[in-house]
Symmetry: C2
Amino acid sequence: MVRDPVIAIVGATGAVGVEFLELIERRGVRFSELRLLASARSAGTTMRCGVHECMVQEATPEAFEGVDLALFSAGKGVSKALAPAAVRAGAWVVDNSSAFRMDEGIPLVVPEVNAHELDVLGAPCIIANPNCSTIIALVAVTPLHRAVRVERMVVSTYQAASGAGAAAMRELEGQAREFADGREFTTDVFGRQYLFNVFSHNSAVGADGYNEEERKLLQETRKIWGDPSVRVTATCVRVPVLRAHCEAINLTFAGDMPESRVRELLAAAPGVQVVDDRAANRFPEPIGAAGKDDVLVGRIRQDWSQPDRRGIDLFVAGDQIRKGAALNAIQITEHLLAAGRLTRATVG
Amino acid sequence: MVRDPVIAIVGATGAVGVEFLELIERRGVRFSELRLLASARSAGTTMRCGVHECMVQEATPEAFEGVDLALFSAGKGVSKALAPAAVRAGAWVVDNSSAFRMDEGIPLVVPEVNAHELDVLGAPCIIANPNCSTIIALVAVTPLHRAVRVERMVVSTYQAASGAGAAAMRELEGQAREFADGREFTTDVFGRQYLFNVFSHNSAVGADGYNEEERKLLQETRKIWGDPSVRVTATCVRVPVLRAHCEAINLTFAGDMPESRVRELLAAAPGVQVVDDRAANRFPEPIGAAGKDDVLVGRIRQDWSQPDRRGIDLFVAGDQIRKGAALNAIQITEHLLAAGRLTRATVG
């Protein structure tokens, strides 16, 4: 006899936590128990996952007793504090924070790209979910990179409020209401007007002038592709959009990469939907990507600034909460489930 | 005796027309008569320029009688139909439309870049104002290009509603009110939700996949710099912002271009204000650029994806109506005035 896994969600009440519950229900992820964990402040709250009603408990090291899989999305600090305890308790951890992403020996996985890294894992351990911008870019670019090596990427992002959490989304919506009412803007989350504005990503800027979001795009791409030579420069920007990120991506290939081949590769790529109607001027938009599993890819064209068909321009849109966070972790979970890694033999 | 020029404004009631009036008043541009021209529909309307009150007249070929300078901003069709008549009547024309920009013999001028092209003009003729995205990019990039040649630019734009006129700005503001009231969005201008969304620029897309806005950035840059070898690829995108455009610009130089030199050059550049506070995460934003003459430049950093300090990344913001249109044309006017080209000797 085997039993379905005990799944814990750490950060259950956050934007990604809520999305975890929705995806578990919608995709029919099997579990024998769902344990919702959050800060002491949220303990006692009740949340639903389909027919199941669960009470949120405080996330403590002891809360992982008997857990087979723990999905973490409660920030870097909570992951650092509790993920090792979850592993010691025998759980696989899929961590959505940046706490362990760049650690040696920690797999950093986008299932469409490097699910094979999950198959060689021995005992329960921490698996890192990449940053949202990296996931969305690599779902689109990796099928091309596999055909002809990508040497360099220049990325400009158009990032949504959701990357900064549910409070940021509410603040943006609130500013629209404040504008309509002629009231002053509430600027608690970003300390500035967000409605009708655009600003550089709110992560720390290093001495080299790159912010953390831009640094992640470079470092995570190198790790996920296993290619320390790929070059990536990025400018990460927040735009007043609720929950899907867009990215303008300029690619330099090591060899000939005609537009027609890019179209063939993207049409066959998992997790990609091509939206590229030049006559109707219909291309990926964040409101079209919101609530969708797929990354939308369009504005596909041969870059006329690079010789010998070595350049391609793309514009992509992906739901930051869905594929940029929760769905990617759930796909990792499904991969582990399918490989029988999460089911325990019961004595019976 | 000389008298101040008769200045005509074609498209006086539009967003750029209104800005012309404000700048003429604020900057003290001398005139002996201000003649406001627009479509028959707007004729009879009264508009103010400082203490002067003027009645709008219909723009016809005969309306340019006695005009010394005509500022056109009423779309390509009106410019094609009426600018030649204005020149025949003896007027200098500064045309903000794309009608003549790429015509041989028509100077395409950003005063900070190539005002010298105005000095060699003989008789009254058409002078073209570049597209807003080109002006904003080149005010920032040309001082660098003059020091070390720019070989390639990769540009991603974050463009405001104003580029599509006052109606587009009103529609965006209207959607914020509709959101607040829970009403359906009015989508007359762009045919889609603009609030909380981002979409590919609403200009026609060619067979090569580039839209007209992107094509202008390439072609106008080559013409203004007089350098047909510069390579420019762009992805032009509208963001829900009212009146200032931003652009993420990645540069490849022909030789060594250290970040420190870029900072020195930009600090001394006319029309540029450096906004680059890494510690406070304060960089150019459209709401900071709105209503300002200068182009804001920040996120200045050595591009780590290019060897030998040959790459630089920048993020710029400029008021689309001001420097991207009206101010640039007024600066051309001021240059012609200072050179005594617009003053007529009177028989007296």
